[in-house]
């Protein structure tokens, strides 16, 4: 079983500057050619102040979190099982977003084969320079711990 003391551990907010080129490369990697991700004029004509970031763009944000450190166990692998984003507003080119990561939960779930598996829920929160929340992200990770002995 994982260390339940990990719950609540967090990393300090880390600045992420949202660059147009980064948005473009991210959208290109997905194969999404919606002009609001590439073309400033088009984005404005669509009612946005500037180029918009795709919904999953926060996946590219850095945080200071080292999950292995936060979770405090020998981790063999992490399997991404679920992902949720909540948005207060779209993310735009030029945004300066501070991302903090915390361990929201550590629990045991029944695995596919009937056994137990360890699950960690990690939350990222992105705030703008005024401290207003822009998005929240929640990752559910299945953890395979390093074998101890057998």
């Amino acid at each position: 079983m994982l260390d339940r003391n990990a719950i609540g551990r967090s990393s300090p907010p880390t600045l992420n500057e949202v660059e147009k080129g980064a948005i473009r490369r991210f959208a290109e990697a997905i194969g999404d050619y919606n002009p609001i991700y590439y073309d400033e004029e088009y984005a404005r004509a669509s009612g946005y102040p500037t180029i918009v970031a795709p919904p999953t763009f926060p996946a590219s944000f850095h945080s200071a979190a080292d999950l292995r450190e936060l979770l405090g166990v020998g981790i063999k692998s992490l399997l991404h099982a679920e992902q949720t984003f909540e948005y207060e507003r779209p993310i735009f080119a030029g945004d300066r977003i501070f991302v903090a990561t915390r361990v929201a939960d550590v629990l045991e779930r029944s695995g596919p084969a009937g056994g137990k598996m360890d699950v960690a829920v990690i939350e990222d929160e992105g705030r703008d320079e005024e401290g207003t929340v822009v998005f929240r992200a929640r990752r559910t990770l299945v953890i395979r711990a390093q074998k101890e002995g057998a």
């Binding site: 980064a22 490369r25 991210f26 290109e28 990697a29 997905i30 194969g31 999404d32 919606n34 088009y42 004509a45 669509s46 009612g47 795709p54 919904p55 999953t56 996946a59 590219s60 850095h62 399997l79 991404h80 099982a81 679920e82 992902q83 949720t84 984003f85 909540e86 948005y87 507003r89 779209p90 779930r109 029944s110 695995g111 596919p112 598996m117 699950v119 559910t140 299945v142």
Partner: protein
Amino acid sequence: MPARKLYFETVRVGDELPALAKSPVDRVQLARYAGASGDFNPVHVDELYARSIGMPSVYAPGMLVMGFLGQLVSDWARGAQLRKYTVKFVKIVWPGDTVVCKGRVTDRWGENGRYFAEIDLWAENQKGELVMKGSATIQMFYSLEDETRQRSGQPPIMVDVPRESLLTAVPEPAPAPQTVAAAADKKPAPARPATPAAKKPSAKAAGTKKK
């Protein structure tokens, strides 16, 4: 010219999003996504590493597939604001796989001049197997008139629309395929509460009906 926008007044429960068939995933795309996302986990980009841990090859990060489904929603819901977007990763997507993204409106409601719809989302591979499922909540203007008013600083159009899922029986979709070999979560999330076949002849009427 920006594309037409989606307004609440035209959205109906049961509306299907036009399916989005992505190009087959290849290793170049995996490399690009690794670079763009900053996630250089070698299982996605290093063939030798992936084989060394017993995988047949590198495979797509779940977040790439979540990006595909995000494209489906954003393309359909132009002008809307995505409020919530959630997925479960069901099956691995391999190089060569073609992912098809699908969605259906399951609910709509309006309160205090704010209008929302909920959309069930799922993605299948070329064999028709479910690889991802999830949902999105979007917020829209009620109509073009509502948007025009709000953009000129006037108050929104106020129409109280109760959650339609409470009123209407939606024909039960069948996106869930045979085997859902979820590595992480054995029990598939319960299907959306299928209002047990309430055969209301009036159920087709638009959603402003009071219960």
